[in-house]
């Protein structure tokens, strides 16, 4: 706390004869182009500056433009000169949330489908991830190989992986029906997986297959931090496997889970690639995820104002959910530590 404003004003030239006395002995008196205060308090900000500028450029500015677009009647007539599109006020939003009218009802339906899909997909991905991570915590022969195998879906490019799924799920020539219908005879007739109601399950399975390795990877890393001694002590006290998992493993994974579930939720809720590659531009109603729905509302029908309004609503929803989630889980954690 030696630096003060007058000292600052004196500049580096006066540093040697500073009235506050000699500088701390462990800090050599070197010349610097940065004033002291900035060097101490501002350095982190200075280092963050490039990231901040790019963040502004790549995320914030497009977001603000998107929000501005949502208040405009931006159709194909105006795409060459966005500025000339007439202001629509809240009309785009009104249409999007008017759940008695067809457009709003379709959006609500899509939102409900997405919520159901997200809960199922994130839940299953996490469950598979945590199960596999715990089972593979102890060394055994072939562990490395299995780990590598489990991570394959995560390492494959989305497009390649999902297009493979779309081949597997074809009704007449797909492997899934070949096994279920032709070989096992479980179904009376071949099932449609890519159109109709079953498409929802096709989407859940593909999404879980794609995301669970990430959960597995994160949780495996987190498990490395749990000291062996805790388990040994628990065993001495007579705790079984189930109790060990409940009282040692899961509490220790809590901080990781907090972030992991949030990230999986955001990824899954916003997922565009999987449904787009699986179903094309017109997703079946049962699997009409919100990102595809918004894409269709703007690109396929050339109504970018309306699409932007829906995106803004989606953004608000995700912000609220994320904030609430962080608040709730964060409070729990603070209570634990204090």
């Amino acid at each position: 706390m030696t630096t003060t404003a007058p000292h600052e004003a004196a500049g580096t030239a006066a540093a040697g004869t500073s009235p506050s006395g000699a500088s701390p002995p462990n800090r050599p008196p070197r010349r610097s182009f940065l004033p002291d205060r900035i060097r101490r308090g501002g350095l982190p900000y200075l280092l963050l500056l490039p990231a901040l500028a790019l963040e502004l450029l790549i995320h914030i500015v497009p977001m603000v433009i998107g929000i501005a677009m949502s208040f405009k009647q931006l159709t194909h007539e105006y795409i060459r000169n966005w500025g000339s599109a007439p202001w629509a006020g809240l009309d785009n939003f009104r249409i999007a949330v008017d759940f008695d009218a067809p457009v709003g009802r379709a959006l609500l339906h899509s939102f409900a489908v997405t919520c159901g899909f997200t809960v199922l997909a994130v839940g299953l991905a996490w469950l598979f991830g945590v199960t596999a991570a715990i089972l593979m915590q102890d060394r055994f022969r072939g562990r490395g190989l299995l780990r590598a195998l489990f991570l394959t879906p995560y390492a494959l490019p989305v497009y390649t992986a999902v297009i493979t799924w779309s081949f597997l799920l074809q009704r007449d020539n797909g492997l899934v029906n070949h096994v279920l219908h032709d070989q096992l005879g479980i179904t009376d007739s071949p099932t449609f997986w890519l159109v109709g109601d079953n498409s929802f399950w096709a989407l859940v399975v593909t999404s879980v297959w794609r995301t669970w390795p990430f959960a597995f990877l994160m949780l495996t890393a987190a498990l490395q931090n749990i000291p062996r001694e805790s388990y040994e002590a628990a065993q001495l006290d007579g705790a079984g496997i189930r109790q060990q998992i409940r009282h040692i493993t899961l509490p220790a994974l809590r901080p990781v889970n907090q972030v992991l579930i949030l990230v999986l939720f955001l990824w899954t809720f916003n997922d565009f690639n999987v449904p787009y590659v699986l179903f094309g531009k017109a997703a079946p109603e049962a699997a009409d995820l919100i990102s595809i729905h918004i894409y269709q509302a703007s690109f396929e029908t050339w109504n970018f104002g309306s699409g932007s309004a829906m995106s803004v609503l989606l953004l608000l929803f995700l912000l609220v959910v994320t904030a609430a989630y962080l608040l709730v889980t964060g409070r729990g954690r603070r209570g634990e530590h204090g």
Binding site: A51, E77, R80, P102, V195, G196, A282, P284, E300
Partner: protein
């Protein structure tokens, strides 16, 4: 330790985002209207016409070289797959950064015309490319709204035709291709047995569905838009039209249920491999050959009409399908671009390109030669006599998405054994119409 690691991560992220940001740049510089700032270069976006993007590059490459020799203008070619063409054009229009000359599906002409993204072909520009009357009237009708300067000129024309398997027809005792839908259904039923079907449908592809809806609508005396451009999707005649198409799978059962999810041209494969006896398609020759079907194994006929009276029904059995050639409003080589349009629509180039792609030339002079095959003979006749352009209204693309999408759902329902009667079709079309926001 932790600090340094975070700093490293931050630095890496910054570097990556910077790389991404610069990677997005490039292309023609943002500018006002058309100008001649870079007279020695052109960028050309071609849509995918051949069996693959590579095949297109091989077809177009030598022709572009020829153009370069004649004019000294180097053409940078990019062949764009169909799935992304419209998105790319919209992105180009909104950013002002795009090609100089581009291909577009002719059904988008009037939407793009309204967006002002394309250089209008007024009398002056038409003069530079050799005049408007060089082109056939039907494809010219699909270049923008009536009464306005066309947004583009026709490049390749196509029509739907009925392809039929000669051997399967012979075995089923059918002597000639059907000329009415009643005959087609009757023939289809004869062909449907032991795992083979009468008709192959591309039911999971909304665009194909919408094209058929248009033709059936015309044959029922209905349009999907009224004179003022308002949608009339759920008019009774349109409901009947869509139902007639859905019924091939639902009621007549002359198409395999699995067709409901076909969206990657599996119907062409099924026809070529003898799983179905008939196919409604545009210029299928090259695709059929790619699947191993020889040209003498299939016959080509015009798409059937309705049987019975012609009260209010129009003599239409195909849309005017095709590709238009447009000049981007933001081009910085407008003279070169027009020279290139003139070159691509010249009689000689038209003969070369349409022969390779199996399409019909919209240039009258190029049509005068003898048809190269039965495919072209039928398509030329249909184009001249019974093809109509899809509605030239700005909301046309919404019609394709919404009505075609509704038909996809209906076909899926039919395939799953659910009822798809008049009431269901009516409900689906009403819902589609309500999605039109204005």
């Amino acid at each position: 330790m932790r600090r340094t690691r975070m700093a490293a991560v931050a630095a890496l992220t910054t570097a990556l985002t910077a790389a991404l940001a610069t990677g997005c740049g490039g292309g023609t510089a943002l500018g006002g209207g058309a100008n001649n700032d870079s007279p020695k270069e052109l960028t050309y976006w071609a849509t995918n016409q051949g069996s693959s993007l590579e095949a297109d590059k091989k077809v177009l490459g030598p022709e572009l070289k020829k153009f370069e020799q004649q004019t000294g203008i180097k053409v940078h070619l990019e062949v764009i797959p169909w799935a992304t063409v419209l998105d790319r054009i919209l992105a180009a229009a909104s950013s002002g950064q795009g090609p100089d000359v581009l291909n577009l599906g002719n059904t988008w002409s009037s939407s793009l015309q309204k967006s002002n993204a394309l250089l209008p072909f007024d009398a002056k520009n038409f003069k530079k490319i050799g005049g408007k009357d060089r082109f056939a009237p039907a494809p010219m009708a699909a270049t923008g709204a009536a009464g306005k300067d066309p947004a583009a000129v026709p490049l390749y024309s196509l029509t739907y035709a009925l392809y039929y398997n000669k051997q399967m027809f012979k075995e089923a005792g059918i002597s000639r291709p059907p000329t009415t839908w009643d005959e087609l259904v009757a023939d289809g039923k004869k062909l449907t047995k032991d795992g083979t079907y009468g008709l192959a449908m591309e039911g999971g592809n909304p665009v194909e569905n919408a094209h058929h809806a248009f033709v059936f609508g015309k044959q029922h005396g209905a349009d999907f838009f009224d004179a003022s451009g308002k949608p009339t999707f759920d008019k009774p005649a349109n409901v009947a039209a869509v139902k007639q198409y859905i019924d091939f799978l639902a009621n007549d059962k002359i198409a395999a249920p699995g067709n409901a999810e076909y969206a990657q041209n599996q119907s062409v494969r099924d026809f070529a491999t003898g799983k179905a006896g008939m196919l409604l398609w545009q210029a299928a020759r090259t695709s059929l050959q790619a699947h191993g079907m020889k040209t003498d194994e299939y016959g080509v006929a015009p798409v059937p009409f309705q049987s019975g009276g012609t009260d209010g029904r129009r003599n239409v059995d195909s849309m005017v399908a095709g590709i238009n050639l447009g000049v981007f409003q933001n081009t910085d080589n407008v003279d070169g671009a027009l020279k290139f349009v003139k070159f691509m629509t010249s009689t000689e180039e038209q003969r070369i390109l349409t022969t390779k792609y199996g399409s019909i030339s919209p240039v009258l002079e190029a049509q005068r030669s003898k048809p190269r095959d039965k495919d072209e003979a039928v398509q030329r006749e249909v184009l001249a006599k019974s093809a109509a352009p899809l509605p030239q209204v700005p909301d046309e693309s919404q019609f394709e998405t919404l009505v075609g999408g509704a038909m996809k759902e209906l076909l899926a329902d039919a395939a799953a054994g659910k009822k798809t009667g008049t009431a269901e079709v009516q409900a689906a079309l009403t819902k589609a119409q309500q999605q039109m926001q204005k």
